[in-house]
């Protein structure tokens, strides 16, 4: 389990640096796809591990983008509210051991809401920290909404893609 998450950490970091950081959509949209790592950490992840891995994820990314601290701060904040969001979204299926956050185990509705809240919170923190002033609020909100939508679409696509694959290999 730990190995899988470590692998995901590295893959997502490089995807973000080499692919998503180079997507210049309309000039103001920035998909921070790496939040996917924080979303997919298993439920039983210990609190300190959740916070520190998220922090490391953000910090590693900061080294590539000259934005020291910004991604780290947004990621730690996202990790901090994650347990609260999970409690808020109790599904019919209890969070049994072995269940991972994802469409496969908890259904589309649950995962969509879960991803929506966390991605939006993350992007809000990220873009406000980046601008670091309140005067351009209209423009900042514009960026937050547009970028969140794109990140969310990418996350859902990744989910559908992987869920499809797993079903084939596991059950058939």
């Amino acid at each position: 389990m730990a190995g899988k998450n470590l692998f995901r950490f590295v893959i997502l970091l490089f995807l973000q640096v080499l692919v998503f950081n180079n997507i210049h959509f309309h000039g103001f949209i920035y998909p921070a796809f790496y939040v996917y790592f924080i979303l997919l950490l298993p439920f039983e992840t210990a609190g300190w591990l959740l916070l520190t891995t998220s922090f490391l994820m953000g910090l590693s990314l900061d080294f590539f983008t000259n934005s020291l601290g910004i991604n780290a701060a947004a990621s730690v904040f996202t990790a901090f509210i994650r347990p609260g969001v999970i409690r808020l979204l109790t599904s019919k299926k209890e969070y049994e051991p072995g269940i991972t956050p994802g469409i496969r185990d908890l259904g589309f509705r649950w995962f969509f809401l879960y991803a929506l809240i966390l991605v939006f919170v993350h992007h809000t923190a990220l873009f406000f920290l980046e601008v670091f002033r309140i005067t351009q609020i209209e423009q900042t909100i514009h960026r937050i909404v547009a970028s969140s939508v794109l990140t969310l679409i990418l996350i859902l696509l990744a989910q559908f893609f992987l869920v499809g694959q797993r079903k084939k290999s596991n059950k058939y």
């Binding site: 640096v17 080499l18 950081n21 180079n22 997507i23 210049h24 959509f25 309309h26 000039g27 103001f28 949209i29 920035y30 609190g47 300190w48 916070l51 520190t52 922090f55 953000g58 910090l59 900061d62 080294f63 590539f64 983008t65 000259n66 934005s67 020291l68 601290g69 910004i70 780290a72 701060a73 730690v76 904040f77 990790a79 901090f80 347990p83 873009f127 920290l129 980046e130 601008v131 670091f132 002033r133 351009q136 423009q139 900042t140 960026r143």
Partner: protein, 276 residues
């Protein structure tokens, strides 16, 4: 004491969050000063190497375009050579070395990573202090300005793009020589704003905006963009001019780094002014 430890232990999730968040925010706030020097210098060689090797793969795709730009440049330089002029008066071409003090030094560099979609955009270039680059040098392309060097490691440099909240440049209208202040408003990476041009000045759409040469960083008359639109608020005595960049910041590849050899001298002079 024991109660305190139990309390901290029970709520460690919250306290760890606070510690990490404060540390991250500390980094954000100190971004431009001390932390940056310590962190970036030790890591940017590592991250720069990764970015550079990725760039090697993609550089072939833009080779054709880069060649065109370079040959245009060459043509321009050939045009400036003494051989390109008809010499009618030999005396006027006599060169005295002490009269021609070199003011600016040009170096070429390649962009290995850049962004346009953040509010604060930066670039990385593949030259560092080993190649003579130092902070506060200007980065330009033949078509217009790009930004200024802010951090230098051994083999790479970070450049603050003009597409950055913290970038402000002294600029002027080429036609009327009126000087104003130029910055990026963060909306569209293809346009920026020129302000502080008084309302009595005649402006027409299509005017060229160039650097004023008042800053110690950019040489005079480096192109920035062309006037696309201008407006004036009621009761205001200064124009707000929308300027379309002449450089496409989304396709930067070869850039020139310009060092001002008299930079330190100018700074010294400034200090003397302030002391009085």
């Amino acid at each position: 004491m024991r109660n305190l430890i139990t309390f901290l232990w029970k709520n460690y999730f919250f306290f760890l969050f606070v510690i990490l968040e404060v540390f991250a925010l500390f980094l954000v706030v100190n971004n431009n000063y001390y932390q940056r020097r310590v962190f970036i210098n030790s890591t940017s060689d590592f991250s720069g190497n990764i970015l550079a090797s990725f760039d090697d793969m993609s550089s072939y795709l833009s080779l054709k375009n880069a060649n065109t730009i370079l040959s245009e440049e060459n043509a321009r330089f050939y045009n400036m050579q003494p051989e390109a002029f008809l010499i009618s008066d030999t005396a006027s071409f006599y060169r005295n070395d002490s009269l021609y003090t070199r003011h600016y030094v040009y170096r070429t560099a390649k962009v290995i990573s850049s962004s346009i979609n953040r509010r604060n955009n930066y670039l990385k270039i593949n030259k560092g202090f080993r190649h003579g680059i130092s902070p506060d040098m200007a980065v330009v392309t033949p078509h217009g300005i790009v930004g200024q060097v802010i951090e230098v490691s051994e083999n790479f440099s970070s450049v603050m793009s003009i597409l950055n909240n913290n970038a402000r440049i002294s600029a002027k209208l080429k036609a009327s020589n009126q000087v104003g202040s130029f910055f990026w408003d963060g909306n569209d990476y293809r346009t920026g704003l020129l302000v502080d041009i008084p309302s009595h000045v005649q402006i027409s759409i299509g005017d060229t905006v160039v650097t004023s040469g008042y800053s110690f960083i950019f040489p005079e008359s480096q192109p920035i963009g062309i006037v696309e639109d201008y407006s004036i608020e009621t009761g205001d005595s200064f124009y707000k001019i929308k300027v379309r960049f002449t450089v496409d910041y989304n396709s930067l590849y070869h850039v020139y780094v310009i060092g001002n050899r008299l930079h330190d001298e100018l700074i010294e002079l400034d200090k003397i002014d302030l002391n009085e």
